[in-house]
Symmetry: C2
Subunit: 292 residues, 2 copies
């Protein structure tokens, strides 16, 4: 079957353990024990890489963020070369599809074992052609934390890509029950943050703006790719705080994520938005084809 | 071996699925697929019940909270009778130990499968005799959310016992790196909330006070048992908001959880606290022996 997932398990997910090569395993068979902290505590990290036409996009940026997340969670450093091998092995072993998602997961492992669990799962991406062409409906959601969260609660893991995503999934259920496609989180002061699994980019004339990671949000890999494309076109790119009201005057809003690449915002809180179809098509074509 | 975990798997964890009895499985063998949402998204719920001298304490209260958590996460309703059977079967199958923890976990299951995963794991409790006798050192931590979080962010799952506990584990690492035993979360306004896996109770003369669950915190089962004991002794019990400063005038602070039962606070933010040793001994004896 073309779309059965491909699984590679890392016997040595963390640096410093006796190294062993990633091993292919049956994705339909159980992998994790009931007492793995990845499931009992959501205690672990992940990355999702999109391999478009066989090329794993922003692989090094994803691996670097994976390492940063591990540091923030006081996890052992991932054995990056092994993770890269496992990712490429999973890509190689999967039958060719237009877009293949490669999900890297490292957990703190079975409590008391001192050994992390790690694996890479490869499976076809959903078809986002409608969203990429027609845009998405976005709702702002109060994330109920202040903009200075990184200073007042440095222990809180904001900005790490952890397995504890129940609230992100709840946000998506909440906005979908209201007929929208996605959410954008806002701080208690009205500062624009990020989506449950995406980064917002606003365009003001020749300037692209995205909120800075000192707001306790994730540095977006796809947003980074979009910014580099924009710079090549002579647009300026900045990390700046944006209030929800500031978005009113943007001439275009984009949502970036590895799975969707870049999608235009069609409505924000039910208010219609416009976008430059040619510019969007160029951005999307770049994110799809650039081997960066 | 006396302390190898006992695992019972629920083929039908959710009500409405064709019912099947819990099945004993090998706890040292893998149980979960790599794409179970319990691990990829921390998307599920849990309860931990302490069976002291063979009696599963507050079993019905735990099952009721499990059901409430499922509702908050839009999970299918747990098949409560099956969960009760599995819990009692795991308790029965484990060799007798003074305190046995029974961990109930239900996840949203493999994405797209429409079937939850569910299991009960039984394993001996840690030895908390030192904490129960000598008390613990507590540090206040800014949880970086406002007291009206349930109103402004009803979608945020505050008050549900989810598997997304990475931040709770991070809080414990943070305070332990500072030489303390446990944390107590505080809202941005300085309202006392809860611990990463516990409930705080303050005693003012003949009155026990704990923060109310409308602050986005979990209703504590052990705190509930402590309150009922206090009422029998003629103490009054209330759910009231407390500022950190209010705790100064408390004549005793307790931390309640299923695993530790009830432990006195020895220091709060490094300031020594006193407690009534006789009253504490009576409370602890009750929580250990009451079959409620």
């Amino acid at each position: 079957m073309n779309d059965s997932p491909v699984l590679f398990v890392l016997p040595s997910p963390a640096a410093g353990h006796p190294s062993a090569d990633p091993v292919r395993a049956d994705a339909s068979a159980p992998l994790l024990r009931a007492d793995d902290l990845g499931v009992t505590r959501g205690d672990g990290i992940f990355e999702t890489i999109n391999a478009v036409d066989g090329y794993p996009q922003a692989l090094e940026a994803h691996l670097a963020r994976f390492e940063r997340s591990a540091t923030m969670l006081d996890l052992p450093a991932p054995a990056v070369d092994t993770w890269r091998s496992a990712t490429l092995a999973a890509l190689d072993a999967h039958p060719p599809v237009p877009e293949l998602l490669l999900k890297l997961v490292m957990t703190r492992g079975v409590e008391g074992s001192g050994r992390c669990s790690g694996w890479v799962l490869a499976f076809p991406n959903s078809d986002f052609s409608r969203e990429r062409t027609e845009g998405i409906d976005l709702i702002t959601l109060d994330r109920a934390y202040p903009a200075d969260i990184m200073t007042i609660a440095p222990w809180l893991l904001q900005g790490a890509k952890t397995l504890s995503y129940a609230l992100n999934m709840a946000a998506l259920r909440y906005v979908r029950a209201r007929g929208a496609d996605d959410a954008i989180f806002v701080s208690t002061e009205g500062q624009v943050l990020e989506g449950p699994n995406s980064t917002l980019v606003a365009k003001f004339d020749d300037r692209l703006v995205t909120p800075p990671s000192d707001l306790g949000i994730l540095a977006g890999t796809s947003q980074g790719r979009l910014f580099r494309w924009a710079q090549q076109r002579g647009l300026s790119t900045t990390y700046d705080r944006l209030k929800v009201d500031d978005l009113e005057s943007a001439d275009m809003l984009w949502v970036c994520s590895s799975g969707r690449l870049v999608v235009p915002v069609r409505t924000l809180d039910a208010k219609p938005r416009t976008w430059d179809a040619d510019l969007h098509a160029a951005a999307l074509a770049h994110l799809r084809t650039a081997r960066d």
